[in-house]
Structure formats: C-alpha cells, structure tokens
Subunit: 167 residues, 2 copies
C-alpha cells in the first residue's frame, strides 16, 4: 500500500510523453521549466522525468493563457500551491476561485468596452467636443451605468487631460 502510493508519486513521465499528452512542444516544456512553472527530476542519463501532476499544471497554464494571463502571473498563481506535497482537491479549487475572479473582471471589462464601441464609435458623431471616444482618460459615460472605467482590470487609472475641443 505504502510503496504503491510512493510509486504513484514517482516521477516517471518522459518529456516526450508529457509533450504528447499535454499537447505542447518539448521546447515549451523546457521553457516552462526554465521559468519555474513546472519541475522535473533527472534520471541517470540526465533525462527529464515528471510526476503526473505536471499534466494538471500544464492544463492550468494553458487555461490561463487562454484567459490572456501572462506566464509570469500564472507562475505567481502556481506558486501558491504547496510544493511540499502533491496538491489536493482543495488546493486546485482555491486556485480556481482566484481565476474565476480574474475572468469575471475581464468579462466585465469587455462588456464596458462593448458599450463604449456601441455608444461611441457607432454614434458616428464627428464632433470632438461631445464624442467620448476622444476622452483618453478612458472614462465613458453611459446612460445606464453612469461613469464607466475602460481601463483594464488591474491597471492604474490615473486621470489624463482631455483633448482640446475642435482644434
């Protein structure tokens, strides 16, 4: 029983196997390892061997990238996982919650952007006085919501001066 459990945790996947299963290039795995996103052990012949949970880490990495999260941020998230033991259900779940929030922010951002495109580029107004597209402070006034920020979720939102009117 105990030995069986130990065997299960032993790193036994080769880089090629991981690459095939996770559908990433071997070079990407080297790259991720270099950046500290995944870890491997070496066999006697200096070849990489992976524990199976690397597959989940890669799945997380790929999911994060689809969300437009950089590898740097993904690393930060993965770094919150315990490195002393193989992550549990709860570990993954906690991580997932954080990412849902990120996604919700991004979705909200896109929706703000949509109402901006809708109400502003679409209006056809060519007067710089009234068209909020010329407001580089990224604040859009919409009928429904009041002032809406168009900046990306985490970026600082310092106010900027407006364009001069009409010339």
């Amino acid at each position: 029983m105990k030995t069986e459990k130990l065997l299960r945790d032993e790193p036994n996947l080769s880089v090629g196997k991981v690459a095939t299963r996770a559908d990433v290039a071997v070079s990407a795995l080297h790259f991720y390892e270099n950046k500290g996103l995944i870890r491997s052990w070496r066999n006697n012949g200096n070849q990489r061997r992976y524990k199976k949970d690397v597959l989940r880490r890669i799945a997380i990495i790929k999911a994060g990238q689809k969300m437009g999260i950089t590898l740097g941020e993904i690393k930060d998230t993965l770094d919150t996982l315990p490195d002393s033991r193989t992550p549990t259900k709860e570990d993954w779940a906690k991580l997932s919650t954080a990412w849902q929030m990120k996604l919700d922010e991004k979705i909200a951002y896109m929706q703000r952007l949509r109402s901006y495109v809708d109400g502003c580029i679409g209006c056809g107004c060519l007067s710089m006085k009234s068209c909020p597209i010329y407001n580089p402070g990224d604040i859009v006034a919409t009928q429904a919501n009041g002032a809406v920020w168009l900046d990306e979720p985490d970026k600082a939102n310092k106010a900027k001066s407006c364009y001069d009117n009409e010339n």
Copy 2:
C-alpha cells in the same frame, strides 16, 4: 465657403500635437504610419502634417487594441474606409458594427472559458478520466449548453486526440 471647407481638411497638425492629443508617443505615430495605419503629408521642411481625422483613426486603433485586436487586423478594418474622402458618420458606424461583433465573440469566448474554469479546474477532480480539463480538443461539456467550444473565435478548430486515461 468652399475655401473654408478646404482649409478645414488641410493637414495642419504636427506630429507632436497629434501625439499629445491622442496620448501616444511620436514614435508610435511613425510606427503606425510605417504600417499603413495612418497617413501624413509633409511640409516644406519635410515634417509630417496630419488631417484632423487622424485623431479618430488613432482612437479606433487604441480601442481595437483594448479589444485585443492586432494592428494587422485593425489595419484591415481601417482599410475598408474610403481613402478618397474623409470618412462620414456612416463609414464610422459600419466599422463600429463589425467591431461590436468581434467583441461579442470575445465576450462569449470568455464566458465559455469561465464555465470551463468553474466546472473543471474548480471541481478538484483529480481523475484524468473524467476531468474535461484533460481534453485538449478544447471541447467542454457543460450541463446547460451541451458541448461548448473553448477555442478562440476565429481559430480553426481541428479535433485532437485525447489524453490516455490514467497513465
């Protein structure tokens, strides 16, 4: 009257003015011009002069970038504008409609991604057999919608082989 109209369309903004008003760097304006996204004329001293509608083009460029659209695609969109005359209300409106669609696709994509993160990373399941996160074909089965594609809007969606089960 006529001369007044002509004067209005005459390129009279310097690169520095445009940079300040549009809140972009001069180098970015050179870059955009190089890529064919904006156009300028030269004065006697070989300095760039812009028509005022360049400001709207830049606003469009910036809005597009916020949507995650590449400059290449933005150029394609801008190229649909007439180059023989200054764009009208309708021209901008048409362009805006196309972009709304793009944005709607992106939003829908993010929402699909969210349900994936929600139902899959979050579930904590560690069995590769049942967890759709291990399905690199990017198809996620959700209770509500049936099969959902996770690929990005325009990307080709070729099916890929699944991970082997459990080892």
